[in-house]
Symmetry: C2
């Protein structure tokens, strides 16, 4: 079971966000034989959606996702700005023919301690975005984030919680499963089975370092931490996932300081040896 070839990997542009723009990421993937890419929208906007879509197609890369829509709680209401930004994200995902639009749903509104209200805002925002996404043929992937981000990034924090939302909203919505966020969950195996092929829309790799020195930007390269990556990959594949293994590493003090080609070479080597 161990080992993923580079053609089965995808580069999330956050992994080299300090080093490369999107054009460089596309070229880097081609150079290292990496099969796919997942752009963040800031880098996409810099390059321009049309130019990016063209370059990605020319390089023969699959787009494993677009990061990210969501942030439904940012103003305390699902207002026009929030909905319009998410519609633009849907349009961009359609232009890139992305496997899914990844949703980081947002945490507590500024000054609020009302988690049930935040949950309600998120579901309202997802429902409205999904209505539009269906008309554009774009799939929506809720990314449950680690519970340590519940306050300030995403108040959907387990796969079970995300799937409850999916069940209420129907077809065309599923989950992005990132090992960093879900590896600890005792309910993970059962929830991946519940999710199945229709709801597992993305699979993200990195590793949990011990110690972790920063809540946000101290993620590890695969193999440098404690996550049983082969076990988790086997679980998503057993339940029907056939997409790419997307590598997304936030790392101020380590990987963001290295040469981009070194990062990609390491990611390819670790894909083969530890994933």
């Amino acid at each position: 079971m161990n080992g993923v070839g580079p053609e089965r990997l995808s580069l999330n542009t956050a992994t080299v966000r300090a080093q490369w723009d999107l054009a460089q990421c596309i070229e880097g993937c081609a150079r290292h034989g990496i099969g796919g890419i997942s752009p963040w929208r800031d880098k996409l906007h810099e390059m321009g959606v049309e130019a990016a879509a063209k370059a990605i197609r020319a390089a023969g890369l699959r787009v494993s996702g677009l990061c990210r829509g969501g942030w439904f709680t940012s103003t305390g209401a699902v207002d026009k700005n929030v909905i319009e930004d998410n519609r633009r994200a849907v349009d961009e995902a359609a232009a890139l023919e992305a496997d899914c639009l990844v949703m980081v749903v947002g945490g507590l509104p500024e000054g609020s301690r009302d988690l049930p209200k935040a949950w309600a805002l998120v579901e309202e925002g997802l429902e409205k975005t999904l209505d539009y996404a269906r008309t554009q043929g774009v799939k929506i992937a809720i990314e449950p984030l680690h519970p340590m981000y519940a306050a300030d990034r995403a108040c959907v924090n387990t796969l079970g919680q995300a799937l409850d939302i999916c069940d209420r909203l129907g077809e065309g919505i599923g989950c992005a499963v990132d090992v960093y966020h879900v590896w600890w969950d005792p309910d993970l195996e059962a929830q991946l089975e519940r999710a199945g092929m229709a709801r597992i829309m993305a699979f993200h790799l990195c590793d949990w370092l011990v110690p972790t020195r920063d809540l946000l930007n101290d993620r590890g390269m695969m193999g440098d931490g404690v996550i049983d990556l082969p076990r988790l990959r086997a679980l998503v594949e057993k339940n029907g996932f056939e997409g790419l293994n997307e590598v997304e590493i936030f790392s101020t003090e380590n990987w963001w300081k290295r040469d981009g080609d070194d990062v990609l070479a390491t990611m390819v080597e670790r894909g083969r040896t530890v994933c």
Copy 2:
């Protein structure tokens, strides 16, 4: 519903661990009218169990818990040392007439990525400790820790997971519910109802700061963060909890640098105004 008088609070000695020894903590509680105390074992051993028990009784304090037993995964096996240390902890809890012995169960064994194995070790250790604790009339309280501690402190990370263990092990075991660890959990309300009076053995207060600058030692004083404390307290009380509201704050850069009496005065004031 808002407001807890000092007689309904308990001081977990970790809150002033940098400033005071256990004798000073006991005197501090008496001085501020705080109704209970929860010693950590390092401070208890410094003072001596018998002397501590006597001083706590003389001060009229209730012992809301003893922190802590557990750490069943530390050597990769539930060996003699681990079991004997937990038996001593049970004896100490009995000597103090503590409401419960709080269990921090341990994370992954050194060098291991095998979470299911860690879960099995924890359950084996809890079962063996519980067998002994029943003979001594001591209650065992599993403290599910925040998922960010799954690797290095405790691989029991939700109330639901802890209650599944309790259900398998039977009577005399329950949970310590610490708002810091569980506040984010969408399943919390249902699990507290499932737990009920028999399984809710302790309730710990502090707050989740935004931003949180350190995974371990940046907890907030009640009111300084985003946790809806009155809601959580209402939930545990609705489900039958009648114990004290224990304040446990790890705070290298703030509360551990202040005068101990200032910390207790603040904790009493916040108990009245925000809990």
